[in-house]
């Protein structure tokens, strides 16, 4: 018989009694001032007190024993349940905790770099092309409603030329049928963007900046790369994944504090998508017997035009928050050096 001092709360009244605990075979013996009570050990639950808090033993009758002598009570009852022991062990030592933090950082990195893109890649084929087209129609309607896009002010044959160029790029085994829309968009500026499902929007402003047809073709090929790799859906799935994972891990902190990591992760995924679309464009251009340098040239022209219009500091390229890779990097297709643009 060991004697361990404990406070006994009966669960009905708030005043505890001081009692002595001991063990007799498979029974826990509680010696109170008024007599002795016995409980089967199997029915008593030991709960570890965190840090300096006392351990508790939950008794089958709803009472609780609060024990400050933790080593003694854990030995008496045969140790902590395994699940509780884990957290305790990690909390005991700063070295173990530092190792755990390094492992956690690795897991986060692996998840962001490989697991989430792989999960998105597994999920994407399950979504039908018709869903993409529906999504594209909504986005387009929304843009037009906001007044960001209006009817093209260029001659009608420019739009026809674009459509013809696109038909030239169309690969045989693609599930998408491309349509190119030419739109007047002064707020968006010289730009082209792909909507999921095969719709590519080109702005009038782009055609005034990039005048050579083969360079326009390079841009269309890049946008087709976004469509073929389903980047619109991919970003949606990836950003939802990042947000869900972070919410699950951080739990009780405010979701506003998650804005920074989510923005960083989304920008990084976006740059990866751009590189993938670039590679697609290079391959298509080469298949057409055109130089992959054309894409870099057209991007350079857009950048120069933007700088002339808005001043030299408008382009944000290459940074951690940038949605597109550095234009310099994109002007070296497949590692080769392009002759400078005149």
């Amino acid at each position: 018989m060991v004697d361990i001092e404990a406070l006994w709360y009966d669960g009905h009244t708030p005043r505890p009694q001081t009692v002595q605990l001991g063990r007799d075979g498979d029974e826990l013996v509680v010696n109170t001032a008024s007599g002795q009570r016995r409980f089967l050990l199997a029915n008593c639950q030991l709960e570890a007190g965190i840090d300096t808090l006392p351990d508790s033993v939950h008794l089958p009758d709803g009472g609780t024993l609060e024990v400050a002598q933790k080593t003694a009570i854990r030995r008496l009852l045969g140790g902590l349940p395994p699940l509780q022991a884990g957290g305790h062990w990690l909390q005991q030592s700063w070295y173990v905790l530092a190792g755990g933090m390094a492992a956690a950082a690795t897991i986060l990195w692996l998840g962001w770099r490989f697991a989430l893109p792989a999960a998105a890649g597994w999920l994407l084929p399950l979504i039908p092309v018709s869903a993409e087209q529906q999504l594209a129609a909504q986005t387009l309607a929304w843009l037009e409603q906001r007044g960001a896009l209006s009817a093209s002010r260029l001659p009608a044959d420019r739009a026809k030329a674009l459509q013809a160029g696109m038909r030239q790029l169309q690969t045989a085994n693609s599930p998408y049928r491309y349509s190119v829309l030419l739109r007047h968009a002064p707020d968006i500026g010289p730009n082209a963007f792909a909507l999921p499902g095969g719709t590519i929007v080109v702005t009038d402003q782009l055609l005034t900046v990039v005048t050579r047809p083969d360079e326009i073709l390079a841009i269309l090929a890049h946008e087709a790369g976004h469509v073929e790799h389903r980047h619109g859906l991919r970003s949606a799935v990836e950003s939802v994944g990042v947000l869900a994972a972070l919410t699950l891990i951080t739990g009780d902190t405010s979701s506003l504090t998650l804005a920074l990591p989510v923005a960083l992760a989304s920008a990084s995924y976006s740059r990866e998508h751009e590189r993938e679309a670039d590679r697609f464009a290079y391959a298509v251009l080469q298949a057409q017997g055109l130089s992959p340098c054309l894409l870099g040239y057209s991007l350079k022209r857009i950048e120069t035009a933007m700088q002339q219009q808005h001043g030299s500091e408008v382009i944000s390229s290459g940074g951690w928050f940038a949605s597109h890779p550095d234009t310099e990097e994109r002007s070296h297709p497949l590692g080769q050096r392009c002759p400078p643009l005149h």
């Binding site: 009966d10 808090l53 709803g62 957290g87 869903a131």
Partner: protein, 366 residues
């Protein structure tokens, strides 16, 4: 209600202070180990993390010599979280693909809110103890629907202007059903004070705006004096300073919002706490929280700064000092004899639960 006769018989109404004894150091270890294990287990441990977290914080909160305790099963919390994350993902994806599905989800969530509130209160209180006695929530779902719809109708008809009344309408249902034995909680009318707290929060927003703008100005000025922009542009390419400027401005905006929201939440909580009383056999014992507004302003300003400059690592310090500021200023007035409280024990109330809730036994929300 207090009888005048009783008032005279009690010579000096003494007060029972709350005490909060958690320390930053030990909470920081707990927080870090929780975070590490949550990541290593891909979020599964977060349920255990929540339980350990609350066990620690409740265990260090005491009133009248009795400590609070938290006893929820992590499995129940895990089930609730899995459901919440699933619904969250569905919600986000439906926003992309189908506004109709999102509308249905939203309407469903709205219709279920009162029921969920009852479930959450039952779960939380049944798993909370004071001095070894379990609390419980004895509100019925019908009552919750009445109270919540009344509150929403008030908001809708007054275009949100009567928000304090709407808050009180909910609290008047939730608090009286929160019980410890025969003791329960009650809330006194405090619309005027709630409005004042609202205006106070707007004023705090202005002050924080000035504070963060001044701080940003100082940093910007210091950077320019050191010729930082030229150096950054030279080393990271043209335009990188513009990105940094934009990011810096955005961060200041987020900080301002975080600080203001934290202030507003605590200012409203202060009013509600100061009008809440513990009812024991029809005698009311008011809660009282003395926390001057300037302390509150300084608290959340410094909290936000600490969080930013430590990249979030100061969270344990922020959490503990905020809780300490709350509980060390909280007292129970009128000297109730809490030792006379008697709880039946939990079994009786568990048996009363409807089957669906027992089958689900979820903890919803964070």
């Amino acid at each position: 209600m207090t009888h005048p006769a009783n008032e005279q018989m009690r010579p000096i109404p003494h007060t029972l202070p709350f005490a909060f004894s958690a320390t930053t150091g030990s909470y920081a270890r707990l927080w870090l180990s929780n975070l590490v294990l949550s990541i290593l287990t891909l979020g599964v441990y977060s349920a255990w993390a929540k339980v350990r977290n609350l066990k620690y914080l409740y265990g260090h909160t005491q009133v009248a010599g009795g400590r609070f305790g938290y006893h929820a099963s992590p499995i129940a919390i895990l089930k609730g979280r899995a459901l919440m994350v699933g619904l969250f993902v569905l919600w986000q994806l439906s926003a992309e693909f189908s506004p109709l599905l999102q509308g249905l989800l939203g309407a469903g969530a709205l219709l279920l809110t009162p029921w969920l509130a009852v479930q959450a209160m039952r779960f939380r209180l049944a798993n909370t103890s004071w001095s070894g006695m379990r609390l419980h929530f004895d509100g019925r779902t019908e009552g919750a629907y009445r109270a919540f719809f009344k509150s929403w109708l008030t908001l809708l008809l007054s275009l949100g202007l009567l928000w304090p009344l709407a808050t009180l309408q909910k609290q008047r249902y939730l608090l009286p059903h929160s019980r410890l034995g025969r003791a329960s909680l009650a809330i006194a009318p405090c619309m005027r004070k709630l409005y004042l707290a609202g205006f106070g929060s707007l004023f705090a927003a202005v002050l924080y705006g000035v504070g963060f703008t001044a701080l940003g100005g100082v940093i910007w000025f210091a950077g320019n004096t050191l010729n930082l922009p030229a150096w950054v542009n030279a080393h990271f390419g043209h335009g990188s300073m513009r990105v940094i400027d934009g990011f810096f401005g955005g961060m200041l905006g987020i900080l301002w919002l975080l600080a203001t929201l934290a202030y507003a939440r605590m200012a409203l909580q202060r009013v509600l706490l100061n009008h809440t009383s513990l009812m024991i056999e029809n005698i009311e014992h008011r809660l009282r929280m003395v926390l001057p507004s300037r302390t509150l302003l300084a608290l959340h300003f410094s909290n936000t700064l600490a969080l930013v400059f430590s990249l979030g690592l100061a969270w344990p310090w922020v959490r503990i000092r905020t809780l300490r500021a709350t509980f060390n200023q909280l007292t129970l007035q009128g000297g109730p004899d809490l030792a006379r409280l008697y709880a039946q024990g939990q079994s009786q109330y568990d048996a009363r639960g409807d089957e669906l809730a027992d089958m689900l036994a979820l903890d919803l929300g964070w």
